[in-house]
Structures are given as C-alpha cells and as structure tokens.
Symmetry: C2
Subunit: 431 residues, 2 copies
Amino acid sequence: MLSKRFQIQSGKLIETIHSTAKLGAHGVWGSDPTQTGVKRLALSDLDKQIKDWFIQETKALGCSIKVDNVGNVFATYPGKNNSALPTGMGSHLDTQPTGGRYDGIYGVLSGLQVLRTLKENNFVPNYPITLVDWCNEEGARFPMSMMASSVWAGICSKETVYQLKDVYDNKTTVEDELKRIGYLGDIECSHSANPLKCHFEIHIEQGPILESMQRKIGVVDSAQAYTWIEVTFMGVAQHTGTTPMEFRRDALLASSKVILDINKMAKSHGGLATVGKLDLQPAVVNVIPEKVTFVIDIRHSDDVAHQEMEQEVEKILKDAALNTIGNGIPLEVSSRTLYKSPVNKFNKDLVALIESSAKEIVGEDNLHHMVSGAGHDSCCTNRLIPTAMIFVPSKDGISHNPKEYTDPKEIELGFRVLLETILKYDSLRTE
Amino acid sequence: MLSKRFQIQSGKLIETIHSTAKLGAHGVWGSDPTQTGVKRLALSDLDKQIKDWFIQETKALGCSIKVDNVGNVFATYPGKNNSALPTGMGSHLDTQPTGGRYDGIYGVLSGLQVLRTLKENNFVPNYPITLVDWCNEEGARFPMSMMASSVWAGICSKETVYQLKDVYDNKTTVEDELKRIGYLGDIECSHSANPLKCHFEIHIEQGPILESMQRKIGVVDSAQAYTWIEVTFMGVAQHTGTTPMEFRRDALLASSKVILDINKMAKSHGGLATVGKLDLQPAVVNVIPEKVTFVIDIRHSDDVAHQEMEQEVEKILKDAALNTIGNGIPLEVSSRTLYKSPVNKFNKDLVALIESSAKEIVGEDNLHHMVSGAGHDSCCTNRLIPTAMIFVPSKDGISHNPKEYTDPKEIELGFRVLLETILKYDSLRTE
C-alpha cells in the first residue's frame, strides 16, 4: 500500500467540510452547528466565495490555477514530469437549494486533502495532478446538470450554456453571472484546449445501497442511463364550482394520472421514474388548471430497458390526454427531451485500481461493485478520458436534503482510498 | 311590465363593459379589441382606478357614496322615502388573474345601467336603491373569496381579513393595500352599521347549463355547498437517481393519487371536486418532492351529500399516505378547512319576483330554475337579508378565463330582467 508511508492528518478533511459548509449553511436539522445543509447555488455570490477559497487553498500548496470560460477551476499540483498531461480528480462545490454538505463537496475536498497530504509529506509525484471544481454540476439554478463538464467534454456548446437562464428570475444568464462573479476565465473550456489524462471522482452514494449492505466503499462500474422529458398538458381553465365533471378538460388531472402511471411503469421495468417539478397555470383554488408543465426523470442501468421506458412514457402521455377528460376533445399534450445520457461504463483499468486500493484499506468484504444512480461530472469526462468513481455510504440513503450525512469514519476511509488510488495511478502510469 | 314605459338605451351596458375592460385588459384571444380578458386583482392600482370610476359615474347620477372600512363601495340613488333601508343590488369589479370581462363586472354594470335608466327617465323610486361594488369577491390575490361581503354579513371579522397576505409576495396585507389605494373608508363594514333591505345580483352562469338547454335566463334558487380543504403531504426529499422505488416517500405521488381519487369520488356523488393550486418543495427536477400542499375544492347542491364527500376526502388522504410509499413509514398528511359554506337557499319571494320578470321579458320557455355552482357575494348577504340571483348564459360554460363570453343580446336581456325586478320590488315593498 503506497499511502502507508505517508503521515496523514486524520480528521482534517471532515473539519474542512464543516468549516466550508458555513458558506451557505441552510436548513437546520439538529442542534449541533454541523447539523445543517448547504445552499450554494452555482454562480451565486456564495459560489464565488467558495471558488475564491478553493484557489487560495490550492495556491498555498503550490498549485498553479486555470479558470476556463465556463467557470471550471483547475488547480494543478506539480510533479516531476510537468510537460505530461495531469492526472485528474474532481467534483463540484455548488449545491441544490435543499442541498447537504457532502454531495460534490466531499469529492473536491477529498482531492484537496490528497494534495495537502502530498505537500505535508514533501512528496513529488511523477506527473502533475489536477484537482477540478466543475462549475454548475447540479443544474438547480441554471437548468443543466453537469453543465460545465458537459462543455469541457464537447457534449454541448459554450454558447448554449451561456444563454441558460436563472430559473428563479427567468432573466439572468450564465454568461451574466460568470462575468459578474469574475469566473469567465481566459482558458477555453474544452478537453482539447485544457486536457486531463484521466478523471477520478469520489462521491457520496446518495442512495441506501451501501448502508443497507453494510459496505464502506462502492466501486462504481457504471452510471445508469437517464432522460429528462418535459411534458405540457393544455386543458381549459374553467370555474371549479360551475363546470360539471363531464365537461372538464383538467390539465392537472391528466398530469396526476401520468405521475401514478410512470411510477408503476418504472417498478415493472426495475428502473426509476420521478416527477420532481411541476408548474400549474393559473394556479388558483377555484379554477380548473389549464396548463401543467412538468419534467419526468427516468433512469435505468440498462440502455435497452431505458429505451423501452422512454417508449412507454409516450403511451402513458397519450392515454392520460384521452382518458381524463369528460365529453370534450382530448387534452393537448406535448413533450420534449431536455437531456439524455446513455449508460456510462467507466474505464476497467481505473475501476480495477480503485478496487485494489479499497481491498487494501477496507478489505474485500467491505466493498461493493455498483451502478451510480445519479449523473456526475465523471459521466462527462468518461466520454473522452479514462474515468472511474468511488462511493461512500449515505445515511438512510438521503441526499439533496440538508440531512445528508456520512459518518466521519467513512468520510476518512473514502479519502484514503482516493489517496491510495491516485498514488498507485501516478506510480503505474506511463506517458 | 313596469319597465315597458321606460326609454332604455340598448347597447349602453355592453359598451360600458367593453370600455371599462380596458382597465386591466389581459389575455388576448381574438383580433377584436373586445377579445381579451381582464386581470384586475383586488386592491391593486387597477382596482383603485375602477372604484374611482364607479364613484364618479354614480355621483354623476345623483348617488351618495359610502366607502366602508373593508373597501366596499355603496352608491345610493335617492327615492321618495330616504329614511327607509335601501333596496340593494351589486356584485364585484375585481377579477381572477386569468379573468374574463363579465364575471362580477356584469352585475355591477347592470346595476349601474338600472340607475342610469331611472335617471334618464326622471323616475324617482319609492325607496332609495343602493348599488354595491363588493371588495375582493375573487379571493385570488388575498385568499378569501367574498372577502368583504363576508365581513359585512358578520361571517368573519374585519381584523381577520386585514391580516390576509398577498399570495404573490406573501407580505403585503389587505390593510396595507386598503390604506395605500385610499379605500379604507370610515363606515364600519357591517350590516348593522350600514344596512340594506335586500340584495339582488345578476351574474353570468360560469357554467354550460343554460347554453346547453338553450335558455336565456337562470332563476337561481340556491347556491351549492362548498368547502376548501388545504392538504399537506410530507415525505422525504431524496435523489431521483439513487433512491430505489421501494425506498421512496414521494409527497407528489401521494398528492397525485388524491387528485385522481377525489375526481372519481365526486362523480360517484354527483358533486364536484377539484385541485386548482398545488405547491411543491423543493421543486427540483432530480429531487423527490418532500412537501406538497394543495387545496381541494368540493361542492354539492345537497348538504348531506356534501358532508359525505368531506368524510370521503379524509379516507382518501389516509389511503394515499399509506399506499404510495415503498418500504418506509407512511407519509405525514395534514388537512384543514379553509372555508366552508352550506347550501344557500335564496329568498322565495325574491326568486318569485325574478321569475315573474323573466317570464315577461324572455317567456317561460326561456328561463330555467337552477343552482349556482359558484359562491357569490349574494351567498353572504343571504345570511342576513332577503337575497336572490339572476343568471345569463356563458358561452361554452367558460369562466375564470379570458375567453369568457356572453352574447350581447343575452347581456341586454339579463339587464332588463334586473331592471324589471328592481322596479317591481320597489313598487311592491312596504316599509
């Protein structure tokens, strides 16, 4: 085990998690000061503050900094061979509006702890190591998940994301905010302009599987396919007191049928389907909803089954438009795919490296090979460069919630697996 | 027919409807300038403007004006016996955010046209006649329907409604806005301080019944019972991609089941049940909704059946809390009644007077005895004083929608029935 000879400051990582969580502490769920979530929306003032802090911390370790023109921050710790591509690791520091203190943050701060450990041990790696804070992974404020890693990986254009609008004011764009907070960098956001050799990411599981199996480390073989489908039903706004049931064209009734039907459909396919966001018009107690818009999130670990689910959604929508009306003509229904990602299979060699590190640190009985339920920046980097992920347990499977929690011992074990993996990769890689 | 000897300006009423609709014209649905709805929310600047206009018009006819301390405006046309209580008629000039140009407005402007007709014919009634613009009938901006007529009738207190908050900013109160627009009058808002002898109201049907039966006038015998029940489901916010279906506690899934179940329930009882407003938290595409709040609007023309529906709602809520979860504990569900009104039976003598006027003007085959589906200010006045209503057809039964429409000929016929009824009442009443 390469990390065995390193002095490691136990507890420093969780201390950093807690101290930085003050930038955006939100959603108190217990009496301890660490029992809050974090609300740090992408490109907000708080996001600027955490980016500034990240740069300051990594600079202090001797890192050189690059900021690209979609707000990604790359901190590169020098190695012996600085003309070679850097080994990459990273995640994100932005959160959901109801976020916890681990999602994404744990990955970046574990990477930081790896660099601190190298520095404290005066260790010079063979190759440079770049830690990335990917911009707007959550897509909560500007509605595109893994926004800036998608641009970096060539999945979508810089111009497209510049025009994304703040969902809270429907006005401010990504470009506006990048400029305002000073993170419209001068490096082109692309793998070709600013390449990495590979990408490692450690993350909380955000689901209940490791906890229920009592395993400490998830070795992530792949990330499931997912699609976001935006649906709009158009009915007729009518008075709730004067419109007999058989005369109605109620857009919310149709939407409700869809929500129940996709739930059954997902169960029958062994996949996932959810509606998390739904908007009504006119949204008045005594007016039948005329227009309802919502997004269906469907996921499956198998591409074929995922496609079958997509096809069933179409049938479910048509059925709801036809079978929730009274004597009238069917509701209008339209749908469009906002985002689609196939199953992401991670690089086998990197997965094997993580597995071997995890075996050494937690033992074979404490690791579990698994599929990532969520999308991650690693799903984007995986399109172009060898990528793999490490998971640690999430208490009660809770995430995107202030109560998100991972035991400090598990936090530390995950970091040690990352450190060992980075050291192994550095020692084994050839240019 | 008493109105036979009156010179009547045909078309003046519809002209007034169209000209005043410019104050808040909203929701274009056709190329003609009259093909818009009206958005004139209670206590807004536009509501102030229409109240100012109403006062100016009625003063010009010789009316005296009273403004009470909940924003109701009373315009009294003098009679021979001005110490007697005035004959009342009225409705409201505020609208829904997606309102049309007839709902409420038609009632006030028909009353205005009655007073104009008296004036133009130099007719002095036996008793004074008061036309009322009731404040905030819609309850769209400040969430209480028939707000100020409820206070006037002693159904709720002035203090309660003063504290109601603007649903759009959750801050500004009714009291704030009454002061700001200058309609916190010095007359106490109550029947005892400012009494009326009776109340007549003409209104569009807002439903499809008269049109489908090809009748011109609805003689309204009663208004159906209704209840607004606010429901909150609390589940757990979890990641949509990482939480297996069997681990979920999805507040929107439960709410959707309720929406479908109350629909079936209403049909089986011959009543109405609707959800028009629904709020999600956290309302993010990839987070399972933790908290969903919505209001169930249930109505029935029979009090016993209405009560049975209320009891079934309780069962439906419990069932949804239990039967939409995975392996977890049931969702938390709470409900509270926001508003409840029993069946309102209108005064038989006044209904008979309307029936006789309608027979003379449109003939027996063109009138229909009916139940009001909606609540109206008349439901409040009916608690204390003899009250009755007249309906005219609504095209396609559409209301609370910019496309609300009544044929100008039907608009005119309704007004003539109101005029004849007011004249008959004035001639027949004794102090």
